[in-house]
Symmetry: none
């Protein structure tokens, strides 16, 4: 079966100058791989017509699919559209559907369409118009014999909606790539190298047409299994069987699959078990409740949370005893347990979660260095606490602590069920 | 003065498959820009000899400096060194200094040098050996007439030490590049196209050696000015003068420069004016307080926050009147104002911030569609509110609302100062 090859071209001076990280091309690579398309090159060029043209004609020598992002804004420094019009020798004309869409977009926001924004409806005659559901810069699809060149906006959420909603379905229809079956196994509470040792024997016995990748991120490790071949049903069955084996070895670290996220999974468990929760946060500063409320419908089980930065608030609103704070300090097992219990009582919920720690970079002592974090969970039967010893990076510490407390919740809910 | 042009080539299947984000090339771009070298392209290819050779020969057509990272490990899948030896038609020979260095590196770690690691001292005869202070894979510098090709390891901290310590000084000596001065102007509260119309005249009058780029993200737009030339002092002065002009036109949208972030800037204003704050969040779910507490030392001015998801909490802890909730609903000007006032009172602060809205994707009505968000700020003199009409994406709505309320705080603090 012939491979379908693709290249990603990202356009924008801001990427070349190193002012932003290009996360778009990673995301696109990932999605296209899943769709059975193989990326063989990524190219970044500036907002420079000659460079864009050269990158396009070089890419045409290599691949069937060229995906371009960026340079589609209404301002003068964005020249991708003009350059494509020239490259395809196709004049810019007003696209009626694009004008309707951009007008509706501004109307919904209660704003008048400016002349500048009207120019976004001008598109090269040769292209198929791709609606931007999330913004005003349209996408463009150019068929060129057996090849396709697609241009999308660089704003990540606009590009993502367009890729998932239109581009990948259109590419699948045109190129009919080999079946690739992906399954992601989401784990939490175990580091990459420990997980790797734990599942070593299983990994070595995987059939050759199933590949395994480790994708670590804040406190989590995703395992991605990828199988390719002609028989989709068989591939899916084989992946399911391998995952059943994996469950037996590392089941307690697995919280979900594919689109599952930790806040989503614990949310579903809470809803199913009819348990409500509340949070009392110190070092995580609101991140735990933000994670929980990022899930639509979370108001069904989340009553509320308190960010208790000062000791006064910990005492007055959460009811932490002054003696506890005096004797053990704010960052201690005793305080964090009282915080969790206080959240449960104050918000009238079944479970209270709490965090207290030194996120850094300052504020550490020899006894309690930066990165010391206490987490707690209180329910109707017991209050448990857990200590983390993290590093010096404030943002990473806040994230790791929030993920760890959600995992504590997951483990407790798993026991209950 | 002639510009010195460079291209970065990153090598590795893991980048193409989307398994890791390429942060190396962003870092190199930034460092080289500061050194006066202009990056005109970035290219990522897999561990594939033909692709590497093609990328090299294409890059040689464009630039004087080619910086390669990755593919230098001792295992079989890393082929950069062999490929370079072939490309330069230069046999791999044992480099005595490299062998001494790699032996010393292992000795320092208390380990024996394996045969596999010994092969790392084999280098193409034509290259200048570049010591790796942080690891075992050496760097290689190839002079080719007036061009330079440099190969470095892909491990970020090894590559960074090599770039800063050896490569940039060697490049400066060989090419003696022009100065490049960058300045970023950070704006909030105005969309890209409106900002662009507002500063059109100023933009058109910019001298030709100063370039302007618009970099939009959630609720903010960064303006980046880039000047290049021989006289660094004059460039800096000219940029300052242009920014002074810009201040007069769009000053109220400018919150800071370069490394400034909105939470950092409002934090500094609060600290300076000795004002404390608290939050009462509904639709933002903790994101406002997370933004505020992401800044080290924020406990100096942030007392705490309440995430009040249920009406019961809004009444019992924040003191929102039941009549207000009944008559106007949770998402209303009246309720959000009482929430801000409640936060201020409950947490004993100078200012209270509040959010209440329908983040989506569900929960909208014809009267209050998804994306309807009310924000409020209460201080000792007054309580103000602001309504946003956002889209359907929960995450984006939460972010835009949090940025908008921080901007409301910034505007209030600016008036006070």
């Amino acid at each position: 079966m012939k491979e379908i090859l693709a290249e990603i071209i990202t356009i924008g001076d801001e990427i070349l100058f190193g002012h932003i990280t290009d996360t778009n091309s990673q995301w696109i690579s990932d999605e296209l791989s899943k769709a059975g398309v193989r990326i063989i090159q990524k190219t970044s060029v500036g907002d420079d017509a000659r460079r864009i043209r050269e990158a396009l004609s070089e890419a045409e020598q290599r691949v069937q699919i060229i995906l371009i992002t960026g340079g589609l804004g209404p301002t003068n420094d964005d020249i991708t559209k003009k350059t494509l019009a020239g490259y395809f020798n196709s004049p810019l004309i007003l696209n009626k559907q694009a004008l309707e869409d951009v007008t509706a977009f501004f109307k919904k926001k209660g704003k008048e369409l400016s002349d500048l924004n009207k120019t976004q409806a001008l598109l090269p005659e040769a292209c198929i118009y791709i609606r931007n559901e999330m913004g005003t810069a349209p996408g463009m699809w150019f068929d060129k014999k057996d090849k396709v060149i697609v241009s999308m906006p660089g704003v990540p959420f606009e590009m993502k909606a367009m890729t998932t909603g239109r581009i990948i379905p259109m590419l699948k229809e045109k190129f009919n790539p080999a079946f690739i079956v992906h399954k992601e196994v989401k784990t939490v509470g175990i580091g990459e190298s420990y997980l790797s040792e734990k599942i070593k024997d299983w990994e070595e016995k995987l059939p050759s047409y199933i590949k395994l990748a480790y994708l670590p991120s804040y406190g989590e490790v995703k395992l991605r299994l990828t199988a390719s071949g002609k028989d989709q049903v068989r591939l899916k069955k084989e992946i399911e069987e391998q995952i059943n084996l994996l469950q037996k070895i590392a089941g307690n670290y697995i919280y979900g699959y594919d689109q599952d996220t930790l806040p989503k999974v614990v949310g579903e468990m809470l809803r199913e078990q009819k348990i409500t929760i509340a949070t009392a946060e110190s070092c995580t500063g609101g991140l735990i409740s933000y994670f929980i409320t990022s899930i639509p419908g979370s108001s069904d089980y989340f009553h509320g949370g308190l960010v208790a930065y000062s000791n006064e608030i910990k005492q007055n609103i959460l009811g932490v005893k002054p003696e506890t704070l005096n004797q053990f300090g704010a960052v201690s097992e005793e305080t964090v347990k009282e915080m969790a219990e206080g959240a449960k009582t104050k918000f009238h919920t079944g479970i209270g979660l709490a965090s207290s720690g030194i996120a850094g970079p300052g504020g550490g002592t020899s006894e309690k260095p930066v990165g010391t974090v206490w987490l707690a969970l209180a329910d109707n039967k017991k209050t448990i606490a857990k200590k983390l010893s993290l590093g010096n990076d404030r943002e990473i510490n806040m994230r790791l602590a929030a993920v760890a407390v959600l995992n504590l919740l997951r483990e407790t809910l798993t026991e209950k069920s």
